[in-house]
Symmetry: D2
Subunit: 136 residues, 4 copies
């Protein structure tokens, strides 16, 4: 299952190089995760309400071509791995007009509680485990 | 009582105009408040631990000259008004090398609890009321 | 002429108070300006390509109710004043689901060139002056 | 050669999880690069003035323990690889009080000109090539 979401580059996201600042792609990855979960039938708000947080333990991005102000950006997001304690997402970032690949990345996450302590969703939240596992 | 804090402009804080993005000055104001409180003998961390949050209800900035990447910036912060339910801070932003005024601003705040409901520190937290009131 | 644009609050835009950080509303104002210009028949990209930048000289926001993660946010933007050297925009921010007013603000701008020197669009860029003046 | 720089976590850098947002570590890496270059006897401002930009082509961060608001953070930065067209930096992020490792990361960069086209500093900017190569 892959989610596709479109955003537009904000002026705030550019830097004096005239392109989008590297760290901002990780915000786009977060938008991708949010929308992928929503399309799976569960919002991240609901997860947090149930005490499940998805802390990032590794983030990676390869920058291929620069994104520019006012570009429309396609964020494609996939859940590629899932265990009771971890999840891994992959992302591709495209410029919409020319359909050009701008960046690729991944993030690895631990399920944690509100005190940032690890939890096992397979044991503690079977319904979420099944919902996510089903869509991988 | 006035606090003076020095920071250096980050590349992230610039935009494609080649100057610091307007919204980032409010982050500098927040740094000013944090350091003013610390110099008054109380950290904002301690305030939050006691359940007192300082929510912004108005923010204003006048931009006089642009701040640039790698500039050293002086943030001057004063607490100018205090009631049991509100506080008001004023800020001046200078470029350090030439001692040029770049911006001036103010923020008005309500004291709130963790559910963002108003609280009266004069009634509920007399010690903090006195500590702050003393320094105005 | 008023532009209405809808965005969704990003996790990145929240802070540890559990609400959107005050400085981020100015990014939303910028999105409102971008979309208002586009709806007027001119993009900000085109303006910059012609050497016209819209530097902020004052920004103000009044915060009424906090915006939260994943809220859909309506940004309403109006151009309320225009001279050859300045423009002024007003903004209202609403939470979409409940149609609640969250914040109101304004920004005042100077037209400048790429070296951040003032320009007069009435004199130098008559077509833009007429296009904007027509829509006020 | 390793540079050590200390910053303090800003409220703006936290999210509603109560910890620093993952994307913000890349801003800290950028601060590390800026200060490492300065300690090598060359500022990034000077490099840009000479038409040399250091575009990011890959960025990676492993998050070990969360950084919190108002923590003092040590950024340690090393230049670990250098060719005429590329450079690679490694970073370690520590919480200063307890001297705890919070995160580790790296960034890989291409030297580019103002139009984001690759340049070879070994061929075009021998003095910079020698200055950097000497410190690796």
């Amino acid at each position: 299952m892959e989610n596709t979401t479109v955003i537009r580059v904000r002026y705030k996201e550019t830097d004096q190089m005239g392109i989008v600042y590297n760290g901002n792609y990780f915000t786009w990855f977060e938008i991708g995760r949010t929308e992928l979960l929503r399309s799976m039938g569960m919002t991240y708000v609901e997860l947090e309400d149930r005490g499940i947080l998805i802390a990032v333990i590794e983030a990676n991005c390869k920058y291929i071509k620069p994104a520019k102000y006012d570009d429309e950006i396609i964020i494609k997001t996939k859940l590629v791995k899932l265990t009771g304690v971890r999840s891994e997402f992959e992302y591709s970032i495209f410029e919409k007009d020319e359909n050009v690949l701008l960046a690729k990345g991944y993030t690895i996450h631990a399920f944690v509680d509100k005190n940032i302590r690890p939890i096992n969703i397979k044991k503690k939240h079977k319904d979420i485990w099944e919902l996510l596992g089903d869509k991988i």
